[in-house]
């Protein structure tokens, strides 16, 4: 191989390599933007994590409160002998009082 051929190989390989790198720039740029966007999304999710936990806790509390209200309503709806007895006494007293 003479020096002219060496220069030809260097020129062709260098030129092709450089051109390939130039063509790849927009692709790499897009990839870096996508990476940056996914990192932003991850950061946003991290920031929202405490709020999500708080909402979950509040949902659990609400379920408990609903259960308690339901129990109270059931209790109130059920026949209560002492209340019935008191009602009877009140009715008797009001009638005698007349």
């Amino acid at each position: 191989m003479n020096w002219g051929q060496v220069l030809s190989v260097v020129g062709v390989l260098g030129g092709l390599g450089g051109l390939a790198a130039l063509v790849m720039v927009p692709v790499q740029r897009r990839k870096m933007k996508v990476d940056a966007a996914s990192v932003i999304v991850d950061s946003a999710i991290d920031l929202l994590q405490p709020f999500r936990q708080r909402v979950e806790q509040l949902e659990k509390d609400l379920t408990k409160v609903e259960r308690i209200v339901h129990d109270i309503r059931t209790e109130l709806a059920a026949p209560n002998p002492s209340v019935d007895r008191l009602r009877g006494i009140v009715g008797l007293v009001s009638r005698n009082g007349r």
Binding site: L7, G14, A21, L22
Partner: protein, 137 residues
């Protein structure tokens, strides 16, 4: 005690100067305003010469555009391309210098060889920087 001076900046004067030289030489040879160096003329096949002019022109132009781009990531990607194109362009000058001139060409040859080595060093630096940007962003 740490040094309070931090050297930063994307337009390092020596690098910009060398990129400008590359661009000017590429344009000059392509336009035919000046003949190519006799060493290149003596060794390089005829069809390699315009390729050499093109490598000089595109590497210089790309590097200068990269230095003034507001987007740092794209700037680094283009600067790396400029260094990738500049290195074979320099090799196409270094080889004829030593082939024709032997040790007499050591002045220009050494200058150009270290210029090419600096290009390779810069490619490694940029690759590391881009990797860090990807990791941090």
């Amino acid at each position: 005690m740490t040094d309070p001076v931090v050297v930063t900046g994307r337009r390092r004067p020596h690098q910009v100067a060398l990129l400008a030289v590359s661009l000017v030489l590429g344009v000059t040879f392509f336009a035919g305003w000046a003949p190519p160096p006799t060493t290149v003329d003596a060794v390089a096949p005829t069809w390699v010469r315009p390729l050499w002019y093109g490598l000089l022109l595109v590497s210089g132009g790309t590097g200068l555009v990269a230095a003034w781009l507001p987007d740092i990531r794209t700037g680094l990607l283009l600067e790396r391309v400029a260094m990738l194109l500049s290195t074979p362009a320099l090799a196409l000058y270094i080889i004829p210098i030593f082939v024709v001139g032997g040790l007499r060409g050591v002045g220009a040859g050494a200058f150009l060889t270290f210029w090419a080595a600096a290009n390779l060093w810069r490619i490694v630096q940029i690759t590391g920087d881009l990797r860090q940007i990807r990791r941090r962003s």
